[in-house]
């Protein structure tokens, strides 16, 4: 398991290639990438805060949970914090499994849990001011399917 929380941008292609290259006997690698959306049309920046110390532990726990539920050989969670611009990459997950169903489901599980169980908070900064992004009920509801 590879858990990283960092401010710096990352190279999606390089990370995906490195992740796939270090697997052995895995028939499937699934990756997901989250990107900053300019919902209002006037976004200057998206500021992401987290809870250092707890964040890494929470992500590791979510990854362990995924590994206990599906036959996955490896997982990567990489999440950025700090000030990001629209269309910048916020985060990625990757899962590797012998079969694609496990890789897809584990990746979806990681995303669903990460959205409302890992201590990250997003703030939108626009010309009109700034505001914290509200948690969505759908994100909380998404957990009930697992």
């Amino acid at each position: 398991m590879d858990i990283r929380v960092q401010q710096e941008p990352f190279d999606l292609g390089a990370e995906a290639n490195a992740f796939a290259a270090r697997q052995s006997g895995m028939g499937a690698v699934v990756t997901f990438t989250g990107i900053v959306r300019d919902v209002s049309g006037s976004l200057d920046a998206m500021e992401i805060e987290h809870y250092p110390g707890m964040t890494e532990r929470a992500l590791a726990k979510i990854a362990e949970e995924a590994a206990s539920r599906w036959q996955i050989g490896d997982a990567l969670i990489l999440h950025r914090y700090g000030r990001l611009a629209a269309d910048e990459t916020i985060m990625m997950v990757a899962t590797a499994a012998r079969h694609r169903a496990d890789a897809f489901q584990a990746a979806e599980f990681l995303m669903d849990y990460l959205k409302s169980r890992a201590p990250f908070w997003k703030k939108e900064v626009t010309g009109a001011g700034e505001g914290w992004v509200a948690a969505r009920d759908e994100d909380e509801d998404a957990l009930s399917r697992w």
Binding site: G34, I48, H50, Y51, G53, M54, R57, A58, H79, I90, M91, M111, L114, K115, S116, R117, A118, P119, F120, W121, K122, W132, V133, A134, A135, D139, E140
Partner: protein, 55 residues
């Protein structure tokens, strides 16, 4: 945990406002998500925060 929340509520107006609706808050005990019924014996760190919006 309930006692801690009550003590904070009584201490300052802004705490009372922050803890007005516990369903809108999350709590972590020693950097692990917990609930408002969690015991605090031996606990070193308690954090209150709004619902998380990662991903």
């Amino acid at each position: 945990m309930r006692d801690l929340v009550e003590e904070l509520r009584a201490r300052e107006e802004r705490y009372a406002a922050a803890f007005a609706d516990l369903s809108a808050l999350r709590v972590a005990v020693d950097q692990e998500l917990a609930d408002f019924d969690a015991p605090l014996v031996g606990v070193r760190e308690v954090a209150f925060f709004p619902p998380m919006t990662g991903g």
